[in-house]
């Protein structure tokens, strides 16, 4: 609805409420028709598949491993509190939170630096330099760390030379490094977007009113960049909670995370109902985390 339309319909309303209602209904149908193809598509290839996870999570498993849509039971869900599963879940959650926090710590000063470069040209060039790793293949970027952390990799050689660390590949720290490296660009971009469109005149005003540099930052810059912090944290936390490629390539068999546990259920273990229950659980955690974060998140940062 645009201004002119509104004025027109307001006139029509005075003349005939029926005509106005009809115009509004037609407008409503137009909106619906534009959305319809995507709506139908996503219903068929997103919403219904999403629901089917929960159907399968109550199914049972035949001896061949094929899921049977009969003998409905809660076994898969009760297995979620199994100590082994719990250990993996706690490890995944810790990794995801630590990864989000570390990405935020690394990315904030970095995004701030880019956003406050005075010259537009420099800023654009720096932004392009950030976008390239963001668009580069995630798998390739993870593979790079496999090279670096393997026995003849540069990081391992450096660690051995200084006596600080040995071969890190297939350990938990390796997975952690991979996660930080993989998801860092997802934190940088929303932070940059928020800081870039910020009105820096406000900071200047604060400084003019004798706020110290750090106070101006805490009271003005930080709150104004909150949307970026929230968006970035969600973009890092959720995929790292379900991470599969990184732990698989850098963690080997030792560092199992939820993502690997799920994939195993669909491949080697052939326990689809349990895999579905795990996916369903992650989905619920994800939705709850997103909602909590959107509602209260900003204030605590």
């Amino acid at each position: 609805m645009t201004l002119l339309d509104e004025r027109k319909t307001a006139e029509e309303e005075a003349v005939s409420p029926k005509l106005e209602r009809r115009a509004r209904r037609r407008e409503s149908w137009r909106g619906f028709f534009h959305a319809a193809p995507a709506y139908v598509y996503l219903t068929f290839f997103f919403v219904l598949p999403l629901l089917i996870i929960f159907v399968f999570s109550f199914a049972s498993r035949s001896n061949t491993g094929k899921p049977l849509l009969e003998n409905w039971n809660l076994d898969s869900w009760t297995r979620l509190v199994d100590p082994l599963v719990r250990t993996i879940a706690v490890r995944s959650l810790t990794m995801a939170i630590a990864n989000t926090v570390l990405c935020l710590i690394i990315a904030y000063p970095f995004a701030y630096w880019i956003a406050t470069r005075a010259k537009q040209r420099t800023r654009t060039l720096l932004l392009i330099a950030v976008l390239i790793p963001f668009w580069s293949n995630f798998l390739v970027r993870t593979y790079a760390w496999r090279m670096l952390l393997d026995s003849d990799g540069y990081i391992t050689q450096f660690g051995e030379l200084t006596g600080l660390w040995g071969r890190m590949l297939f350990t938990q720290p390796a997975v952690f490094i991979g996660l930080v490296y993989g998801y860092l660009p997802f934190m940088v971009l929303p932070l940059y977007a928020a800081l870039e469109r910020m009105d820096w005149g406000l900071v200047e005003a604060g400084r003019d009113l004798y706020a110290s540099g750090s106070k101006a930052f805490r009271k003005i810059t930080l709150p104004l960049s909150k949307p970026g912090i929230i968006a970035g944290s969600i973009l890092v936390f959720i995929p790292s909670l379900g991470a599969y490629v990184t732990p698989d390539i850098l963690g080997g068999a030792k560092t199992n995370l939820l993502g690997n546990l799920i994939v195993t259920q669909f491949q080697a273990a052939r326990n689809w109902p349990f895999g579905s229950a795990l996916s369903g659980a992650i989905l619920i955690v994800m939705l709850v985390a997103t909602m909590i974060y959107f509602r209260t998140g900003g204030r605590t940062i």
């Binding site: 005075a118 976008l131 090279m147 200047e204 994800m286």
Partner: protein, 279 residues
């Protein structure tokens, strides 16, 4: 313009530490990629040892039939899924930005964001369950394409919507006043104005489709493996410098796509400051 951000960094010492930090982060982001690229040109059998300049891994890559087949699958899937997702996603963005009230709008708005934030593994699992239990389509290129469209619609819609939010809707009214019908107004006014967004969304969709490993590996069938999934298998099974060569190829493609995207974004004028409706 040069004084725009003066309030931010007036202290030289802070400024210097920020600069050092900035370049350190850039080093962290780029050195690993750079090492992969450099070693793709090494003649040594060992993945991480320099053995003189050589293109043998590239030769092996192009001679590898399975790999080339996977590349072909990747390209076909990426092109089709991008084309479909761009049309559907753009229409979806228009429906949300241009029409404020229609049945199911709120639900659609939320639904559109879900495929973006859902973990890959979850989406992979649900689509596998869906395809195997409905029997509508055999697992193969078709199912991979359908899956890619499903996540790409959302990304296109978000990018286009951001562009629409910056567009002045009075432009369309002006066209209407000059007796353009709805289609003409869209074709001649709206579409050219949001074109950078549409192309940007399409390139993002193309990239995401070319990059996807987890979802594709779940919904693929025999012979329909895409390049990243094939490479993922290679990385797990063996250590061979051919992976470096493929990786370099993939990085080169992403760089081309980023630069193309940025060119499109900048070509049709800088974003107008008129409307800041997002966020």
């Amino acid at each position: 313009m040069t004084t725009l951000h003066q309030g931010a960094a007036t202290r030289p010492r802070l400024d210097r530490s920020l600069t050092i930090w900035g370049w350190l982060v850039f080093a962290f982001l780029y050195l690993p990629i750079l090492i992969v690229v450099v070693f793709s040109f090494s003649g040594s059998e060992s993945v991480g040892r320099w053995g003189g300049f050589s293109l043998r891994w590239y030769e092996q890559m192009f001679a590898n039939e399975q790999l080339m087949n996977a590349l072909e699958n990747s390209i076909v899937v990426a092109l089709i899924s991008t084309a479909v997702a761009t049309v559907l996603g753009t229409a979806a963005a228009l429906s949300l930005d241009r029409y404020r009230r229609w049945i199911g709008r709120g639900a659609f708005d939320g639904l559109l964001y879900l495929p973006v934030i859902i973990p890959d593994v979850t989406m992979a699992v649900m689509l596998l369950l869906w395809f195997t239990s409905t029997d509508v389509v055999e697992l193969g290129r078709g199912s991979i394409t359908l899956a890619h469209i499903a996540f790409n619609i959302s990304f296109v819609a978000i990018v286009v919507r951001a562009r629409l939010a910056h567009m002045d809707p009075l432009m369309e009214d002006a066209a209407a006043d000059l007796y353009a019908n709805r289609w003409q107004a869209f074709r001649r006014v709206t579409l050219p104005l949001i074109m950078p967004g549409v192309l940007g969304g399409a390139l993002l969709a193309l990239t995401l489709s070319l990059d996807d490993v987890v979802i594709t590996s779940f919904v693929q069938g025999p012979g329909s493996t895409t390049l990243p999934v094939y490479v993922f298998g290679l990385i797990r099974r063996t250590v061979t410098p051919v992976i470096n060569a493929v990786s370099t190829l993939m990085i080169a493609v992403s760089m081309v796509l980023v630069l193309a995207s940025l060119t499109f974004q900048n070509r049709t004028g800088r974003r107008t400051e008129s409307k800041e409706r997002n966020q």
